[in-house]
């Protein structure tokens, strides 16, 4: 069985042969002016610098959806950028509305988990 790539806020391939329970959010809160904290249903915890999240926005205007090359230049994002609202999208992602007007980023939980592991946010 082949894999399918999706464009619903993610560049990953899915279609596993067995669909087990996904990791979801157990609790989520603003920890300080620039930190978002998440506790996952497997009891792992992650923290994210919101400015870093803005720089890693996965939307199609920030990352070329065909080549996956970045369009957004990190230096163009001010250190003062902050979220206005963080909201769940279905049960697989969250969206962040930023105070610089940008609001099209859909951050899947799977992407957020990877971010948390690969970098010390």
């Amino acid at each position: 069985m082949g894999s399918t790539s999706s464009t619903v806020g993610t560049n990953e391939s899915t279609v596993p042969s067995k669909m087990g329970p996904a990791v979801r959010v157990k609790s989520i809160s603003q920890l300080d002016s620039r930190t978002l904290g998440i506790t996952w249903t497997d009891d792992q915890t992650s923290t994210y610098d919101v400015v870093g999240l803005r720089r890693k926005c996965p939307c199609a205007t920030c990352i070329d959806e065909w080549t996956h090359e970045p369009i957004l230049k990190p230096e163009s994002v001010s250190e003062n950028v902050r979220p206005v609202k963080v909201e769940s999208v279905g049960q697989y992602a969250l969206s962040i509305q930023f105070n610089d007007g940008h609001k099209t980023g859909i951050y899947t939980f799977s992407m957020l988990r990877k971010l948390s592991k690969s970098e010390q946010n």
Binding site: T4, R24, S27, S88
Partner: protein, 380 residues
């Protein structure tokens, strides 16, 4: 009490007072077949009343549509009967549907705050009987004692009002629309509004807007199951639905043929991408039973539903036979399950409702710590 009397009582089976401990011990041998735990650990045993040797209790199931209700009652009575000093046994089967899709204060709380479960009924392609399945599933759940709503999300081809013939919607004092009732089920469809017969010519953003309104501006009230009849395919509307509301799980509809299965795989892949649990696959037009020979004719081939369910590791929820009565009833605006409740198709829909309710309970157990919906206003 004298020693003689107490021995005599025991010999006559007139017991000492039963204890709650003994009762729970006996009942802890009964397992819930879906959740894999015993009914005492799961907290199903409630309101235990003991008078002497007589016992009365409730077993509170996770849904009124639980398919093993009668079996579990029999098992409980048998387990209690084994207690040496037991007197009269009264076991009441009750049900409180488990589920909660959002927290108070969330933007979807006004319309969906008292909806316990949202179930998508989807297919990869059209013409497989998805809407008929959604309607009959809704009414079968209602017949089991659940409170049900049915949202027709097929904005371009709404068929639910035709199949159910709801009353006129009640006036609303607030910003929310009240969904009209068709029998016991609350209905919402674009077909209820002006020009229902005319083709709906809407561009994408308007359609998304309508869908969002159906989820955020309809007063669904307190219901156990909101069934959403997804339009066929895997496009904009389906994405908007799955992104706007926390879908508890999806039922995927297919016919047995391979060509339908190709599209089913796409639908399952779409749900997997958005991490919507797939409750299982239901196969429609499974077979036709000739009323003369009682033989099952597999007109659209055989086994496809099982195959694709195995491939994805999801449940096979059932096969619905092809019956002229079902199509006729649909066209007349009465679901088959009401028009012909003894028919094989109706029985299949009732079993489907039980299977769906079971899978929903399993999902809840698996995700009981998860937040279904959250919204944070960031403080400076």
């Amino acid at each position: 009490m004298s020693l003689l009397k107490s021995v005599q009582d025991k010999l006559m089976g007139r017991g000492e007072r039963m204890t709650e401990e003994q009762i729970k011990q006996a009942l802890s041998t009964i397992m819930d077949p879906d959740l894999g735990k015993d009914i005492v650990t799961l907290g199903f045993v409630r309101n235990v009343e003991i008078s002497g040797a007589d016992v009365k209790l409730d077993i509170n199931l996770t849904t009124p549509a639980c398919p093993v209700k009668e079996t579990m009652k029999a098992q409980a009575e048998e387990a209690l009967r084994k207690l040496p000093t037991i007197g009269k046994i009264t076991v009441n089967m009750t049900a409180t549907t488990r589920g909660k899709i959002t927290q108070a204060g969330s933007p979807i709380a006004a319309s969906l705050g008292q909806v316990k479960n949202i179930i998508a009924v989807a297919s990869g392609k059209g013409g497989v009987g998805k809407s008929t399945t959604a309607v009959n599933l809704a009414y079968a759940l209602a017949a089991s004692g659940s409170s049900v709503g049915l949202l027709d999300a097929d904005v371009y081809g709404p068929s639910i009002p035709h199949m159910t013939k709801p009353d006129a919607p009640a006036q609303s004092n607030s910003n929310l629309i009240n969904p009209p009732l068709a029998g016991e089920v609350k209905i919402m469809s674009i077909g209820l509004f002006a020009g229902g017969d005319k083709a709906t010519i809407l561009r994408g953003p308007m359609v998304s807007g309508v869908i969002k309104q159906f989820l955020t501006q309809v007063n669904w009230g307190e219901i156990d199951y909101l069934i959403i009849d997804y339009p066929p395919g895997t496009g904009d509307i389906q994405l908007t639905l799955s992104q706007t509301a926390p879908i508890t799980g999806a039922v995927v509809v297919t016919t047995p043929q391979d060509v339908a299965l190709i599209d089913v795989r796409k639908a399952i892949a779409m749900f997997d991408t958005m991490k919507v649990p797939v409750l299982g696959v239901v196969e429609t037009m499974s077979f036709f039973v000739c009323d003369d020979c009682d033989k099952k004719h597999h007109i659209f081939r055989e086994g496809g539903g099982h195959r694709v369910a195995n491939e994805f590791g999801v449940s096979f929820l059932g096969g619905i036979p092809l019956e002229p009565a079902v199509a006729r009833a649909s066209d007349q605006g009465v679901p088959a399950i009401k028009a012909a409740p003894q028919s094989p198709a109706s029985k299949a829909y009732t079993e489907l409702a039980g299977a769906v309710a079971s899978q929903v309970s399993i999902i809840h157990e698996a995700y009981k710590d998860a937040l279904n919906h959250f919204s944070i206003d960031w403080q400076a």
